[in-house]
Amino acid sequence: MQTHNIPVEAISVCNTIGDIRPMRIRLEDDKHQLIVLNVDQVIYCKESNLSGILSYRYGCKVHMYGKEKLIELMYNVQSHKWTILKMLT
């Protein structure tokens, strides 16, 4: 597992009770190309208050270059920023 801190653009959906779920993310790859990844499945969602900063962490399955990968996405509630925190290679 590699730890990253990659800021990403995201499309997410809020359901009627206010739960947020990531749908699609866009990031820059190693070749400086923008790639779009669909979130195939959200495996877990954890609320975290580490360092007193409220965030949600999502374990997600995505397809990247034809391979299935597991990533941990983080949504910072206060700053509204999405980040890839960890990537299982």
Binding site: T3, N5, L50, S51, G52, I53, S55, T83, K86
Partner: protein, 420 residues
């Protein structure tokens, strides 16, 4: 009725722990600052380059909080220095206090990283005090990611002394029956309220441990140290009658000081600094609807020698201009006009909250008008930001028009308890 149970909870190397925790959990860094010699240090370019917090490995190099970064680097050339992030510290502190308030009905926030909790009568809820302390410590560690020390006892003093016993991430008890075994063998310097000067006096009396202090005749101590002698004698015996103050206690004075980025050599530029400090002090006084009748000015020169001067004014005031004029008068009397100034401070005390003013025949200014002007400016600044109105003399200068001890970045929560 069961005896009181007080907890003292202290974050281990607070600023550094919060910084390390943020870097690991929010930025995904793998290096833990707490495991290497590291410090949180001020900005060296602005001459605020001192150690604000240090890691446990840094302690082994004898690096002290408050010492210049240059000297810390000399002790440990591999020292990692990270800049402070006050917004983060305030958030971490708020989250820390929030957890304590869930645990105990009475929480007294003592500083940004320390608090007391009254846990009397919670045995049926959380079990024995030690079990409750572990529960609290582990919850903070799991939820917020940083470690704390918890001291348990029957009063605030003993709880604090217990919390200081061994760090980090520990629970200690220091109940009255344990004083002799756990507290008395400690060096007298470790006792709360014993500073460098008191330590010296005690050593000259042949008192080296807390136990020796506790067994000394209180009259001897009173003879040498007056009331403080009596106080530290009762502290050494584990006696403390102070209760937990949930609400913040009222300020006894309002003051601000600033270390100027470059030495000041002329009275004109020093007075500009004084004006910007008076602006901040005046604003703070007015925000709390207080007036002060004693004003003092302090100067630290480039050789770190410190001098201060104070005077009483006829009527208590919170008018910026009046504070400034008094400060200028004091400054002229105090400064030798030669030594370059490194730090300037303006402090006010003898506070009152009366909303009337005693006029006198020699008043030169129309204070009513100045008061109205100040309150209008305060309202504008509150609504549109601090920089929306500033004096013209600060327009092109390098100096902030409202400088002071509390940096803008750390104005909330650092010196006052955080409510949220």
């Amino acid at each position: 009725m069961s005896r009181p149970i007080i907890f003292h909870i202290d974050v281990n190397s607070a600023f550094l722990s919060w910084e390390a925790c943020y870097r690991i959990h929010m930025l995904g860094e793998s290096l833990d600052l707490r495991d290497i010699p590291s410090v949180v240090g001020g900005d060296q370019e602005k001459r605020h380059g001192i150690v604000l917090a240090k890691s446990t490995p840094a302690k082994k190099y004898n690096i002290q909080t408050g010492e210049p970064l240059v000297s810390a680097m000399r002790k440990c050339p591999n020292l990692v220095v990270v800049p402070p992030n006050y917004d983060l510290y305030v958030k971490s502190s708020q989250a820390f206090i929030r957890i304590l308030k869930e645990f105990s009905p009475t929480v007294e926030q003592y500083s940004i990283d320390e608090a007391y909790c009254d846990m009397t009568g919670t045995e049926r809820l959380y079990g024995s005090p030690i079990a409750a302390a572990y529960l609290l410590k582990d919850r903070i560690c799991d939820e917020l990611g940083f470690t704390v020390n918890v001291g348990c006892s029957t009063n605030k003093l003993l709880a604090k002394m217990a919390g200081e016993l061994k760090k980090p991430n520990m629970v200690h008890s220091l109940f009255p029956e344990e004083i002799q075994e756990k507290m008395w063998p400690l060096d007298v310097r470790e006792l709360f309220y014993v500073g460098r000067a008191t330590e010296k006096k005690l050593r000259s009396l042949g008192i080296h441990t807390i136990g020796e202090l506790a067994r000394t005749d209180v009259n001897i101590l009173k003879l040498h140290m007056k009331k403080q002698g009596e106080l530290i004698h009762s502290y050494a015996n584990g006696m403390d009658v102070s209760s937990l103050h949930e609400a913040a206690q009222a300020n006894k004075g309002y003051g601000n000081s600033i270390t100027i980025p470059m030495d000041v050599n002329t009275p004109e530029s020093a007075k500009m600094v004084l004006l910007s400090l008076c602006e901040t002090v005046g604003t703070r006084l007015r925000a709390d609807e207080m007036k002060a009748s004693c004003i003092s000015v302090s100067i630290t020169d480039c050789d770190f020698s410190y001098a201060s001067h104070q005077c009483n004014i006829l009527a208590a005031t919170n008018v910026t201009n009046e504070i400034y004029l008094t400060a200028c008068k004091l400054f002229d009397e105090l400064w030798d006009k030669k030594s370059p100034i490194r730090q300037l401070g303006v402090h006010t005390s003898k506070l009152s909250s009366e909303d009337f003013r005693q006029y006198n025949m020699f008043d030169m200014y129309k204070y009513d008008k100045l008061e109205k002007l100040d309150s209008a400016i305060d309202k504008i600044r509150e609504r549109f930001g601090e920089d929306s109105v500033k004096r013209a003399c600060f327009l092109d200068g390098p100096l902030d028009h409202m400088s002071g001890g509390i940096d803008r970045a750390k104005r909330t929560g650092i010196t006052k308890p955080v409510d949220k």
